[in-house]
């Protein structure tokens, strides 16, 4: 993690890094508070907020009823009045009942009020396909929300980025959607010990450098890309792996710079292919460095159906390392 490479590290779980980020911001700014289903008494469905009720009390760590539309609207109202709420969704699958609040209000009030009102809120929670949860609970929702002007969307791949970016998100004056992969809460990684550690929103991380092909992958998909890159290296092909970290705004320049070196791009993304993140990235690259492409931009995504329930089917439905390797070799014209 290049930004923090010069700093001492602590090994933390993804959930601990998130907790540290929220805790530090609540200590720093008394306007920051957390609310959501089971965030207080139960210590959080995924134990992200463990111990926070004890530390900050029930006025700043607030349990809500199962009513996403209601508590999302409450958070937006509080943000408009000057507070800085962090609203936890148990999973982003449940935000569909709060969709109108997020899309019609949070995203647009600053614009529609001519800047008189702002909505400094963070919506966060588990996202993405996560094994046998069946079709309705297995959505990668990034593409739905990156489609909405006015929203910022962040999806980190590791504890360090999670901490630095969540702190920046809480301090941001615009609504930020913070998406955490449901399968990554237990993921351990080194996290900067730097005091008041933040990362800029909208800056990608170059995780690995190679001259042959560029792989772009965020959140859980990033680990697929890294695994594919290692396997490709064994076969003699060096991949650059870029973790965009922030999906909106998107660090197009980082990918353009890399594609100018490698001339080939594969995007890995758990969203459905149609209108997904990969589609947007592919468009940007062909429009900004068309003359540097030696092969069509390839993408590896979830399959274009609702998520299946059966174990073997859900595994086939999600992007796989083999698919990433095959796409990279296709772009390299070696298969």
């Amino acid at each position: 993690m290049s930004e923090s490479a010069n700093h001492p590290m602590a090994e933390l779980q993804f959930r601990e890094a998130l907790r540290d980020a929220m805790t530090e911001e609540m200590v720093r700014d008394e306007n920051v508070f957390l609310m959501g289903e089971e965030v207080a008494e139960y210590d959080g469905a995924y134990k992200v907020s463990q111990g926070m009720l004890d530390q900050f009390g029930p006025k700043r760590v607030i349990d809500t009823p199962i009513a996403e539309n209601g508590f999302s609207g409450l958070g937006i109202g509080a943000a408009m009045m000057g507070l800085r709420p962090v609203v936890e969704f148990m999973t982003w699958n449940f935000t569909f009942v709060a969709f109108d609040q997020i899309v019609s209000n949070a995203a647009k009030i600053r614009y529609m009020s001519g800047g008189q009102l702002k909505v400094p809120i963070v919506f966060r929670g588990g996202n993405g396909a996560a094994g046998q949860l069946a079709a309705t609970h297995n959505n990668s929702t990034e593409a739905f929300y990156t489609n909405v002007p006015g929203l910022k969307v962040i999806a980190p791949s590791n504890p360090d980025d999670a901490k630095g970016l969540l702190k920046s998100a809480i301090r941001d004056d615009d609504p930020v959607l913070f998406m955490e992969s449901e399968l990554m809460f237990g993921l351990k990684g080194e996290v900067s010990d730097e005091e008041d550690y933040t990362l800029p929103i909208g800056k990608a991380r170059i995780a690995r450098e190679g001259d042959d092909v560029t792989l772009v992958a965020h959140s859980k998909s990033y680990w697929l890309a890294m695994e594919a890159a290692e396997e490709l290296a064994k076969q003699g092909y060096e991949a650059t792996v870029i973790d965009p970290r922030t999906l909106r705004p998107f660090d197009t320049g980082a990918v353009v710079d890399s594609v100018k070196q490698t001339n080939r791009l594969v995007i890995v993304d758990e969203c459905s292919p149609y209108g997904g993140i990969a589609s947007e990235v592919a468009f940007r690259i062909q429009s900004q460095c068309f003359d540097y492409l030696d092969a069509p931009v390839a993408r590896v995504t979830a399959k274009d159906t609702p998520a299946p329930y059966a174990k073997n089917l859900i595994e086939a439905w999600m992007p796989t390392v083999d698919e990433v390797i095959a796409a990279a070799k296709g772009a390299l014209y070696v298969e």
Binding site: N263, F290, D291, Y292, L293, D294, A295, Y333
Partner: protein, 459 residues
């Protein structure tokens, strides 16, 4: 939006056209239907009309330049309009065509490149995309020097990655000369890189390089001649076409020849009578050639095996239901074969009139493709030059051609006595792939019988 004026396909056999003369200048306002240039095809010089109103913004080719079908000739548009987009779009429009069969043929002929670029015939055109035109399916030509060969593309378009195009352009490399190693022959980075390093991309031999397309031995170099002792006459489109088609005919169709002598005494009599009548009615004269044309037409109707074409590619012999007799006409640049359609169903006067009109059009170069396409048989007459007998090369895809000699006054033996007679020798060249000896002989016998008893023509 500026409008491209492309080289149209003016005849079935046309592959490229020579811009003989510009009739409009840059800056001229033109309207749809206006003729802006004259184009020499393989058969005739024709008017090049524009289909849109506008200003002639740019002439792309100079007088005398040869342009493949679909190649960019000029750009129309509004006064002052930017034409760079069109130029970029056609940049190397010639490149695309350079891999057409036509150009491949020329490369083999080693006469001149499909797009004369070094002789000032074309102005500088940005290198880039081949034009997606109506060019025939490209066939990679063998690389005689072990160097590069054109990449296959669809419809003449060259498949190349954007990066490969840019690298080729920056490296001053004509992308059309490369062979692609990507999917469907796409030219990619490694191909251009190899070419720039001087190592031609090593690609598997293209499947199109069947043995019959194997490199031919290089033509013998022009014999050394002292400068100033000869006049160099450029090979015209028509001459090239004649050369190619007749060589193809002679080399691929196994010719054999049947000669007969025809007693023309009755034909001479009948013709004299006919012309006296025609003159009285103010009609044109009937020539001996017209009599032969009609006789052949009548005989062809009875011999479908001769009124046929051997089409190897289609895997069939075509027996035509129409009898269209072409008549070879000599013009300054070569010869043309205008067609008398349904000659078996037309009267002598009509045949005479049509032949005369077509020959006139051939000579003043106003002849149209429709006038020469679709023949099923051809006659060639050198009798007017005193030629007694000769053999002609079959006009493909006909199966036969009849060579007609002069009518001579000769002594003939009749009932044991030598008497004056009028005789004409004809030689039928037959394509043995479709017409056998007996078939040709029987047909010729019918022709002879009709001419020796010309009243048959009136039936």
């Amino acid at each position: 939006m500026a409008i491209a004026v492309e080289m149209p396909k003016m005849s079935d056999t046309m592959e490229e056209g020579v811009l003989v003369a510009w009739l409009a200048d840059e800056g001229d306002a033109v309207a749809a239907g206006d003729v802006i240039a004259q184009v020499e095809t393989d058969k005739a010089t024709m008017d090049l009309e524009v289909y849109d109103d506008g200003v002639l913004l740019k002439k792309i080719v100079a007088d005398g330049a040869s342009v493949p079908i679909g190649g960019l000739i000029a750009v129309l548009g509004k006064e002052g309009e930017d034409v760079t987009d069109i130029l970029a779009q056609y940049g190397g429009g010639g490149d695309g065509a350079a891999v057409s069969e036509d150009a491949g043929q020329k490369a083999e002929d080693s006469e001149q490149p499909a797009v004369p670029s070094g002789d000032g015939a074309t102005e500088s055109i940005p290198e880039g995309y081949g034009h997606e035109g109506q060019q025939p399916e490209p066939i990679p030509t063998p690389a005689g020097d072990g160097g590069t060969a054109p990449a296959a593309g669809d419809g003449g378009r060259i498949k190349a990655s954007p990066l490969a195009r840019r690298m080729a352009q920056e490296g001053g490399l004509d992308i059309a000369t490369l062979r692609g190693s990507g999917p469907e022959g796409r030219i990619i980075k490694r191909d251009v890189a190899a070419a720039l390093e001087g190592n031609a991309p090593v690609a598997a031999p293209a499947p199109a390089l069947a043995p019959d397309r194997a490199p031919r031995p290089a033509p013998a170099p022009a014999p050394p001649m002292e400068e100033g002792t000869y006049e160099a006459v450029p090979i015209t489109q028509m001459r090239k076409t004649i050369a190619r088609r007749l060589a193809e005919s002679k080399f691929t169709a196994p010719h054999f020849y049947l000669t007969r002598e025809i007693d023309m005494a009755r034909a001479v009599e009948v013709r004299t009578q006919l012309n006296a009548t025609a003159e009285a009615q103010g009609l044109g004269k009937v020539s001996f050639n017209d009599l032969v044309t009609k006789a052949c037409a009548v005989a062809l109707r009875r011999h479908p095996g001769v009124n046929a074409s051997y089409l190897e590619a289609e895997g069939e012999i075509r027996r035509h239901h129409v009898v269209n007799v072409a008549v070879a006409v000599a013009v300054d640049e070569g010869l043309l074969t205008p067609v008398i359609r349904d000659a078996d169903r037309k009267g002598l006067a009509q045949i005479a009139e049509e032949t005369k009109a077509l020959a006139g059009k051939a000579r003043d170069k106003t002849i149209q493709p429709a006038d020469w396409e679709g023949s099923t048989f051809t006659t060639s007459n050198l009798g007017m030059f005193g030629i007694e007998a000769f053999t002609a090369i079959i006009n493909p895809p006909n199966a036969c051609i009849l060579a007609i000699g002069t009518i001579r006054d000769v002594p003939v033996v009749e009932d044991g006595a030598v008497v004056p007679g009028k005789r004409m020798k004809v030689t039928l060249s037959c394509d043995h792939r479709v017409v056998d000896g007996a078939t040709g002989a029987q047909f010729l016998d019918d022709v002879v019988r009709v001419l020796e008893e010309p009243m048959n023509l009136l039936l």
